[in-house]
């Protein structure tokens, strides 16, 4: 018996040593690969932009296609025999153009009432209408629960609420099921395959160029990433998530993120991998949690409480990196709390349509924004302050629709902005160099000029992954990622990455009309604003169109907290429908 064990041990050791020998050989193979690698890059630098464009188109086209697979949650029977399907959880009834169900009668107010279907409960709320509302003859003061069969009267116009499932059989086809989802999913799998190829080809390029520096981190990371993407994608399909092209686009950006990290900071590849995996998990859980509006509301208050704790922690425990005190070090993990706060911030700005139209009270949101802004100013993270403020303005406008106060707030902000530029030396310096970075190429314009040099060196197709020099500049993998993308992968791919973010916003605008609740609509707009502003500040700042600020590009920049937040915010955009 002992002999046997010894033998096994010996065999194992032999095997292990031969394995390590093989590994060693593999490393020496890299040397020969270098020659082959030249020709590989010659091919791949053409292939990757083409792939990227195809991936982009294959993702956005299905999303832009108009799909009429909206679920009907109930029907309103008007007394004149017209049956109106209710396809949103919040419907405004009234005479005005913005009403979801327009009743063109003189006694009806412009915004008369909101019909809601939250957590399986129907209710109607009066928006201060002149004519008032009665349910089964009883006057409704503010809000009233409804049961199927109830007769609602808006200033004398009567209608009845009926459930969605008692539809006469011959009209059954109106209940559209997502019958074209099969087609969509099959192109989705194809796109996923293309993304895999893109990631493999790109990673191989870096491995050939950098060999030992990224070995074995990059191969492990890329394979794990591909595995995770495949798994994640199929879990989402199993959970009957639709419009997965949004997620595919994020996979694409995550692939670019891995390229950048491999090139600029290969030692943090594993950390970034974990962040991506966690991000995917967070996305899935978030999307599931906020499917029900009640849970979403609970999550909102839970996260707000957490965010307040983070704000305090940031102010007390914060560490300074690159001039801003925006890191917390817990010993085993470091993170940027303000990134996480963004998620709570977006939720703080949400409101359901009935609340939004009845109370018009944004005190809590304004208060929370104030707390965030104050913290950001105290920790000197002015780039993020701009992002938070922008998101606040957009979400406040979504809530109030008031252009005049929007203009007032913006004017005030401009004033405050001038004050910051004038009196905070660190910001003054950034602004002083703005537009003339080449005069300060050795000092305050260093990062911008290096970014532009790198971008120019890359041309449209790039010099190849791992062959760039911008990665040696401080914060290249976060603040200057656009330059790294331009240099190593070419202007085309870099622009495409930005276009993906732009598309997230455009998609939000398009899809909002079919959102179930204004909660989702506002959250999505907030998230899209944050994405847009961060990208604009990062990209345009790094090439001297705007002053340089230290914010990240969602998904693309290196950074664990940023990656997590990006996925969480994507869940808001995703959940609109």
């Amino acid at each position: 018996m002992v002999d046997f064990l010894d033998k096994v041990k010996q065999l194992l050791l032999q095997d292990l040593s031969s394995f390590f020998q093989w590994l060693g050989k593999l490393k020496s193979v890299f040397a020969h690969l270098a020659a082959v690698g030249d020709y590989y890059s010659l091919l791949v630098r053409w292939l990757l932009p083409v792939l990227a464009v195809i991936i982009f188109l294959w993702c956005i086209l299905p999303l832009l296609r108009d799909r009429k697979n909206q679920t009907t949650w109930g029907y309103l029977y008007l007394m004149n025999g017209i049956r109106v399907p209710i396809q949103s959880w919040e419907c405004m009834l009234g005479r005005g153009k913005n009403s979801d169900i327009m009743i063109n009668q003189p006694f009806i107010s412009r915004n008369h009432a909101v019909l809601t279907y939250h957590n399986g409960v129907w209710s109607i709320a009066d928006l201060g209408s002149k004519g008032g509302i009665t349910v089964n003859g009883a006057r409704v003061e503010e809000q009233h629960r409804l049961a199927y069969g109830d007769v609602i009267s808006l200033a004398g116009i009567e209608m009845a609420l009926l459930p969605a499932d008692i539809v006469p059989a011959e009209e059954g086809q109106e209940e559209q099921v997502s019958d074209n989802s099969g087609v969509v999913n099959s192109t989705g799998t194809f796109t996923l395959l293309l993304i895999f190829i893109f990631q493999l080809l790109g990673a191989l390029q870096i491995i050939i160029t950098r060999s030992a520096a990224v070995f074995p981190m990059l191969p492990v990371t890329v394979f794990a990433l591909m595995l995770a993407q495949g798994l994640h994608y199929h879990v989402l399909r199993w959970l009957q998530f639709e419009n997965l092209e949004l997620v595919l686009l994020s996979y694409f950006l995550c692939g670019l993120n891995v390229f950048i990290v491999a090139s600029a900071a290969p030692h943090s590849l594993y950390k970034q991998l974990v962040a991506i995996l966690l991000g995917m998990a967070v996305f899935t859980i978030f999307s599931l949690l906020i499917r029900k509006i009640g849970r979403a509301m609970k999550l909102k208050y839970f996260l707000l409480a957490g965010a307040l704790v983070l704000l305090v922690l940031n102010l007390t425990l914060g560490e300074i990196h690159f001039g801003a005190k925006n890191w917390i070090n817990l010993g085993f993990i470091t993170f940027q709390p303000m990134e996480l706060v963004k998620v709570a911030f977006v939720l703080a700005g949400t409101a359901t349509l009935d609340r939004l139209l009845t109370t018009r009270n944004m005190a809590a949101f304004i208060g929370f924004t104030g707390a965030c802004m104050l913290t950001l100013v105290l920790i000197r993270d002015f780039g993020s302050a701009v992002v938070f403020f922008g998101a606040f303005v957009v979400m406040a406008f979504m809530q109030s629709g008031d252009l005049r106060s929007l203009a007032l707030v913006l004017a005030g902000a401009l004033f405050g902005g001038f004050a910051v530029v004038a009196f905070v030396p660190y910001v003054t310096k950034r602004f002083a160099v703005w537009g003339k970075v080449w005069q300060y190429a050795g000092t305050t314009g260093y990062q911008q000029t290096r970014t532009m040099i790198a971008a120019a060196s890359g041309g449209l197709l790039g010099v190849g992954g791992g062959s760039g020099y911008l990665v040696n500049v401080a914060a290249a993998d976060t603040d200057l990622v656009f330059g790294v993308l331009c240099e190593e992968w070419g202007l085309l791919i870099a622009l495409l990455a930005v276009l993906v973010i732009v598309f997230f916003a455009v998609y939000t605008v398009i899809i909002i009309k079919s959102s179930l609740s204004s909660f989702y609509a506002i959250a999505a707009c907030g998230a899209a604003t944050i994405f847009l502003l961060q990208t604009a500040l990062n990209v345009l700042g790094s090439v001297d169109i705007l002053p340089l600020t230290g914010v990240t590009i969602p998904f693309v920049s290196n950074g664990g907290t940023s990656m997590l937040t990006s996925w969480a915010l994507l869940a808001f955009i995703y959940s609109v429908k």
Partner: protein, 452 residues
Amino acid sequence: MKLLAKRALVLLVLVALLTIGLVCFVVRYFNQASTWVQYPANKHLFNNQAKLTVSGTIYDRSGQVLLEMVDGVTKYHRDKTVRTAMLHATGDTDNNIAVGAQVAFREHIIGWNLLNGVYRLQNQPNRSANLTLTLDANLCAAAYKALNGRKGAVGVYNYQTGEILCMVSAPSFDPEQPPNISHYPEKYEGVYINRLLSAVYPPGSIFKIVTAAAALENLPEDKLYHCEGKMQIGSDTVTCTGIHGDIALEQALAHSCNAAFAQIALELGDAVLQKYANLAGFNSYLVVDGIKTAVGRVDVRNAAAVDLAWAGIGQYTNTANPLNFMAFMGAIANQGVLISPRLIADNYGFFASSQKKQVLSAETAVKLGALMRNNTLSVYGEYNFKGLELCAKSGTAEVGEGKRPHAWFTGFLAREDYPLAFVVLIENGGIGSQTAASVARRVLQTAVSTGK
């Protein structure tokens, strides 16, 4: 959700702002990337001492190596005279000569372009990293020798293809042994300036070709002018080189009669003379593969009579850029069509960029050519330019301050096999038809004996 869908449009404002920013960047990128990439901090191209690390070679039209950059070290042509003659074409090691190929065509030499960036297949020098110029090293050397230490410029170009064969500017120096310029301020005055491309001089009598062009199209051809050795305009006098009596345009041009051309200028009037000066390339620059030439000026609008008269004979405030004027000579030779000169040999089709422009009617061009041919036959002496079919005009431009005048000689060969236009300028060179003409003779004879 109609209400919120409407409000969500506010996001499009942000989308638009980001897009505008991106477009701004892309436009800047397309315009300036070639400058950005050449910043010495670019490690793709420069070492830590800010010296170019990429290799590139500049050839002349016959394949002679004019300049070679290997590992940041620049080597020039093996022959000292060629090196010196072509200094302004290749540029010096410290890049003081702004229009030298090293500076002006750097992106071409370092192998950068918008599509590929600085990417090149390793171990296999990118072919586009090499640059072939249209210049002929031997012809340039001959021209430099002919100048014989005098300051000036010599240009020869093919008026049908636009290729510049000879571009010499003196003073010059051997770029492999740059002298201490500041020790000899007189000798090396303006040495970094390419006098053919980047300098302007009073044109003197060569401007009479412009005045003659206007006369051909605006005045009767058989009109006679009168010369008494000078011409009185009010209280001022325009002096002439001789007493020519009654003289027609052809003889007036051949003998460079100031009195006759003063009368022509006055009869034409300021507007017409201005128009023909502009057509001849004054008040505008040519672009030679991205290099802008200096702008020669003629401004006679509302000039006093005596000033207009002086302007008509190439004095007053007139200035001319040698290359620009040579291109005008090319246009006369080429039926009035100006083919703009270029320096980069057209090897990959990227730079097939000679511009065509009709500046004179074909008829006027032919008549002017005949007048200039007559100059050679009746004044400069055909025996001096045997077989060249030379059409030319000399100029002796007064510069005042007690200095000798600038000597000009410019024109073209009316030969199918050697369609060459040329210009010679010698600063303070004296009589154009003597000093400048003799330089032109040697250069042109070299040109036709060594090839195009």
